[in-house]
Symmetry: C2
Subunit: 510 residues, 2 copies
């Protein structure tokens, strides 16, 4: 078993080595003034002893191991990594539990209710919004779903599969591949995030159009709430009242613990076609992306990289933006669809079509590697923040300008953007912000930037999150975006399902 980093992204053996770190520092030094120091990888600091002990009946499910507790204390936001690098573990869980049955989840919730222990459901721990870090003062339990994992049933007749909540992305695909099926849900965190986490946070896959949100891929859910198990009927569609699963999709662990899901799967693509189109001006690339998605062509990939993003993420240094296009089908050749999308792109000023894996492949590699690079940048003293939203097409220009202004002084701040998803009614822009971090005051600086940038997004009609979720870090803006009557309804639903308030306090409401 590869060792997971307790303080940063992913596997310890995949972090950038010293040589890669130096090379990265030299590259980034061309863009930003760096101080040349490299923060060493931290040891697990001593933690305060746990304040609670489980009853004997639950003891075998629970650990108080310090490395395990430290590894469950934070998500993977810049804010989390920079604190861990400084040897700070602000809010370690008193215990980590790994239930192996739904009954064990229920028993843990009962015990937590009896003892006033907060419970934070934990999937892959990849939250970048403070979703898995309890910030209250009382005792708390990190409820790791890792033992409720695996593809337990595949139904090839009805194109569906039952998957445990703790199943990581690669294991989902490994379970489906022998049946020539795929979930086709690939968030950037794919390797280190779980089905339960995807459902709880309404994850977005990285396909640009069509059913890319996990919301649309859920056929039925099993959720253990403090008042009982909520299991929905497995049907292809229903109009019976408000959709029950939609209440739990996005509930971020405050209403119940998702333990399993029936997911809609599809045949693996046999036909694919891809191109990368150059645009001298990224505005033309946006116009092309809008025309393509509004044409109804439904590309599997339609992702715009601004010139700097194209340079940093895909090694393209000709100063142009890139539109990455991809089509796929399990049944029919898709070259005519790609040709049509390329025609539309050309009509908007696109040039230099590259077919196949060129820029797109380079970008995909960089995409999956990005969180490791982020950790290295943090060690080099760079503040790295990624902010994503969705807005109407005609709000984008002002929104982007406001984000750039809010991110920091131009000379010492780099802001790039890509459109990760495009919809007929608007794009989902994803901004990356790089700036030198004031050593020792990184968290304060991040809080400042975060506040300014999110204020800018809200002021220009963007949602507080397209796929990162709300957690604790986005609460201020979520509280404004979410209509007040819905807030009252959600609070009431929470009180009904979790009457003792043990589940993920501080997230979404309360």
């Amino acid at each position: 078993m590869p060792v997971r980093s307790w303080w940063g992204w992913g596997r310890v053996d995949r972090a950038l080595d010293d040589g890669q770190l130096r090379a990265l520092g030299e590259q980034v030094g061309l863009l930003l003034p760096l101080d040349g120091a490299v923060t060493p990888v931290p040891d697990v600091p001593p933690l305060p002893p746990p304040r609670i002990r489980p009853p004997a009946s639950l003891a075998s499910l629970v650990t108080d191991d310090d490395r395990d507790r430290a590894g469950h204390a934070y998500g993977k936001a810049y804010r989390d990594v920079v604190r861990a690098l400084a040897g700070r573990v602000d809010h370690p869980p008193d215990l980590v539990a790994r239930p192996d049955t739904d009954a064990a989840v229920a028993a843990l919730l009962d015990w937590a209710g009896d003892t006033g222990t907060a419970v934070v459901p934990y999937g892959g721990g990849s939250s970048v919004v403070g979703g898995v870090e309890y910030r209250g003062t009382g005792p708390w339990l990190s409820l790791d779903l890792g033992r409720l994992a695996g593809v337990s049933e595949v139904d090839p007749v009805n194109h569906a599969a039952r998957v445990g909540a703790g199943t990581f992305g690669p294991a989902v695909e490994a379970g489906l591949r022998p049946h020539d099926l795929t979930l086709r849900h690939f968030p950037q965190s794919f390797e280190f995030s779980t089905v339960g986490g995807w459902v709880a946070t309404r994850a977005g896959g990285h396909f640009a159009t069509g059913p890319t949100h996990i919301d649309d891929l859920v056929q039925a859910l099993r959720v253990v709430t403090p008042i009982g198990v909520n299991e929905t009927l497995r049907v292809p569609a229903s109009g019976a009242g408000p959709a029950p699963d939609r209440l739990f999709l996005g509930s971020e662990g405050i209403l119940g613990v998702i333990t399993a899901a029936w997911l809609r799967v599809r045949r693996r693509p046999r036909f694919t076609a891809a191109a990368a189109i150059r645009f001298e001006h990224d505005a033309d690339g946006r116009a092309a992306a809008r025309a393509i998605v509004q044409s109804g062509l439904q590309p599997a990939n339609c992702r715009l990289l601004d010139p700097l993003e194209a340079a940093i993420q895909a090694g393209v240094t000709d100063g142009g933006a890139r539109l990455l296009l991809g089509f796929e089908s399990a049944d029919v050749p898709v070259d005519p669809l790609l040709a049509r999308a390329v025609d539309i792109s050309r009509a908007h000023g696109g040039t230099g079509e590259t077919t196949g894996g060129g820029t797109g492949g380079a970008w995909r590699e960089a995409f999956l590697r990005a969180p490791y690079v982020r950790d290295a940048l943090v060690r080099l003293g760079v503040m790295v923040e990624t902010v994503e939203t969705a807005c109407a097409w005609d709000r984008f220009d002002d929104l982007r300008d406001a984000v750039v202004d809010a991110a920091g002084p131009r000379g010492s701040t780099v802001v790039t953007y890509r459109l990760t998803h495009v919809y007929p009614d608007g794009p989902a822009p994803y901004f990356t912000i790089l700036a030198p971090a004031p050593r020792g005051a990184e968290v304060d600086r991040w809080d400042e930037v975060k506040r300014a940038v999110n204020d800018a997004i809200a002021a220009h009609g963007g949602t507080v999150t397209h796929h990162h979720a709300v957690g604790r870090d986005h609460r201020r803006w979520y509280d404004t975006e979410r209509p007040e009557p819905f807030h009252a309804a959600l609070r009431a639903a929470k009180a009904a399902l979790d009457p003792r308030g043990v589940l993920n306090p501080g997230v979404l409401i309360g």
Copy 2:
């Protein structure tokens, strides 16, 4: 303005005339034993006087006209029509209100709360599940949204339009057509149902695949609840908590009054292609439909008619089933897609492709005409019930057999089915049941059949409704299908939003 029927479907001038009625009676007499009597069209019976009066400030919004009250007393189920034909108006609203602003809606809700008056939101009144008939004993108000109508804004840049809740289907399309846009949502009730009704009941359009449910076409909603206005942010997508609109989609008027919606629209199709494929055995047609939808081809129409349905609804009398296929695009020719779907059909035993409007056109005419025919059949003494559900592909055979058995004795009962929608994970079957009705005991007989058929559906893994909604008539099965914790959450949300319990009591919960 054409006159709407107070007791039956649609426009008075479109009902079957005496000659058509006789011809229909002769046709149906070949299948079922009829008594030859024809129930006359009823006059509005005398109604009890209203038990409530509005305050002066609301008087101009309210009427106590008997024809208006009778016309708002029922939906359009068989159960409703047969009662009206017998001169029974069991639960007439005391008043009908037609607010012209959101503030007027709020004022009416306040007044209702103060006076203990139940309020039933009313769009087109096409409910076939008792959704608009209050069955309590106290005073009640039918809240007709007809004055909050119209396409008030079209946003061609972002492919969206703002539409008042009281807007009927044809007016939606008329408002969009000048912009070369369409909502592409065509429930069978299209002409006599409204946007607000579609949202409140999670209506299904009659396109077979893709975004046909109104759920997916809603960009944002405006809902007047008794505790305030719930207006959601207009963005193409968001992952911020449970989707607020999804709580109101399917809420059937118990949580608030939907007054306007931003809807996602699309360019009108320029390319279409259609075919009707004959299958000697309807099971082969189902296998073909499954293969087509699981191929990812996304036909706009993929509708299977069993042999009797094909005969009755499309005039096809060769004893075969028919698969109606249609493709469309605003941007690219779709003939290759149709050709591929026809190939798949042939591989499953399909023959006799007809291109263009043949069977499909005949069927479409009959489809829109069906509710008028239903009313005529009721006058001829036929019980007509339509029951729809959705289930897994491999549950269909047993479910269909159980429905046929439950519907009544074979010799005197006709059961046909069609698949109105097909999904990768299962079909949505729609059954039509015809049987002689015991004169004077029609409602009792209907209740018996309804209970037996819905029990059969529930026992074989079908949902209580794919698109007819729950209302009051489906409560028994909804209460079983809906998980208990979700019930608790919905009850709590209702109590928070409608603390005095005025909104559509008896529907969904309570």
